[in-house]
């Protein structure tokens, strides 16, 4: 069970990193996530079923996610639509696109398809247990992506992106086009979310067009839970906090799923619990601020 929580926490952690970039770094509440997560999943699934190289598929998934985020940012920039609405528009359109990618089907099983996970477990068979191999695989993937992000946020471009959410006027004063920064930030975010969806599909053994419902809320809850763990302003600590928050969130959800029936809870109540978790986080952080 513990491996399951860790793996799911890491797989979804990539999505949470994306949500962290939009909600916290860029201050651009982006709901595209609910569409770009299954977008990544269905593209990955279709390409795997068609025997396309999984690494090529991952690049395609990332590019598709970036494109989805870019669309949201452009709608917001050019049509002066509020960012929330721009995200909802893209998310809604992606629902139809995702069904089309699946050739008018709602889901696609991957149980008999070779995925990155099956490749790794085949390689390590007999050396280490399967669950540990899968965990190791995702630990490595997530560490690589986290490190790349940390490096990115130390570059001039990354720093300017950081300043965007903090003080847009300052970014303009430095001669930087804020619209381009939003495209880069929201694009990068949704690229990560799509990757997360692609790994989720491989881990769960299927891609489903409905697997994106509520993902952005899961991401937000994870970000907020992470923020209770420790305080820091170093980006490497912030991304670590995001990943730990994601794992912790999955732990809470597991607990809800396995022990919830003692209090008459069903898996259908988990979204309610997620929402309550976010509200609780908001209340606690507000109370904390008042004390300080």
């Amino acid at each position: 069970m513990i491996e399951g929580i860790l793996v799911e926490g890491l797989v979804y952690g990539l999505m949470v990193l994306g949500v962290f970039i939009t909600f916290r770094v860029l201050d651009f509440p982006d709901l595209t996530v609910d569409g770009s997560f299954p977008l990544g999943a269905v593209i990955m699934a279709v390409m795997l079923v068609n025997n396309i190289n999984p690494f090529l598929a991952l690049i395609a998934v990332f590019a598709a996610g970036v494109a989805a985020g870019t669309l949201t940012a452009v709608i917001h920039n050019k049509l002066k639509v509020p960012n929330l609405l721009a995200g909802i528009l893209t998310m809604t359109m992606l629902y139809s696109i995702n069904i089309r990618i699946l050739h008018n089907r709602a889901n696609i099983p991957l149980l008999k398809t070779e995925t990155i996970i099956t490749k790794v477990t085949a390689l390590t068979e007999g050396i280490i247990p399967e669950s540990v191999a899968v965990l190791l695989l995702f630990v490595i993937i997530v560490i690589i992506i986290k490190s790349l992000l940390d490096i990115f946020f130390h570059t001039d471009l990354g720093l300017t992106l950081g300043a965007m959410g903090d003080n847009e006027q300052m970014v303009i004063t430095q001669g930087v086009n804020p619209e381009i920064m939003k495209i880069i930030g929201v694009g990068l975010s949704n690229g990560l979310v799509a990757l997360s969806g692609a790994f989720a599909a491989q881990y769960l053994g299927f891609a489903d067009i409905n697997m994106g419902i509520g993902v952005v809320v899961i991401g937000l809850a994870s970000v907020m839970i992470g923020e209770f763990l420790f305080q820091s302003s170093k980006i490497s600590m912030l991304t670590l906090r995001v990943l730990l928050g994601s794992i912790l969130f999955k732990g809470i959800m597991y607990a809800g799923r396995y022990y919830g029936y003692y209090i008459n809870m069903t898996p259908n109540d988990l979204k309610l619990i997620t929402g309550i978790l976010i509200i609780l986080s908001l209340v606690i952080s507000k109370a904390k601020k008042r004390i300080n």
Binding site: F152, H154, T155, D156, L157, L159, T160, G162, A163, D166, N167, Q169, M170, V171, I172, T173, Q174, G175, V176, N177, P178, I180, S233
Partner: protein, 263 residues
Amino acid sequence: MVELKNVTKIFGEGTVNENKAIGDTSIKVEPGDFITIVGSNGAGKTTLFNLISGNVFPTQGSIFINGNDVTKVPEYKRAKNVGRIFQNTTLGTAGQMTIEDNMIIALTKGFKGLKRSLTNKKREFFKEHLEKLDMGLENRLKDNVGLLSGGQRQAMTLLMMVLSKPDLILLDEHTAALDPKNAQIILELTVKYIHDYNLTTLMITHNMNHAIKYGNRLLMMDKGDIILDVKGEEKNDLTVDILIEMFHNIRNKDFENDEVLLS
């Protein structure tokens, strides 16, 4: 340097709230000018700055910077030549980022690439400049700017603006939110930078004495018009009394808000 030709700015044109913020104004700023601007609230001082910086576009007329027509050029592009500091001390810096991160962003204007400019050499360069502020900031490069006082933040904003080498700087009551002691420090620092870097400056102030004491040219605005433009010798002889007298003669009315101008 900067020229406004018959610029008019009307907000909410055609509505009941129609408000002429700037009316048919022309002004030419020469390189090296240090212009102080006074006027009561709603006189159009900030709108004038917004027009020059590109934050709002004029309803009529055109604006030139360094001889180029920038009437329709967006704010971020003009920012390469124009530096601006606001009354709100939090607008010039990113509070949740460190001093060194803020400074590296400000060092070059325009789109930032994927290189890491923040090297130890740059840190030394920043320390050197921060030391001159005499606020102890040189030892706090890794502190978040949000931890600094308003005066320290405004000093940093000034320094960051100067390091980015603008041609023209717009100071919008940039000391008004500070306590008198800090306001004086920031003002002296401003004047020092203006001289050291030979910056063309427009400074809005509510302090008539400052407006008279500093700069080589003084503009007074009222209801969207520049009603007074004093420069050179004539400015050297100005006193607050003369200025108020001139205002009375032009507008032929009582100063309803003397206290605002005299504060």
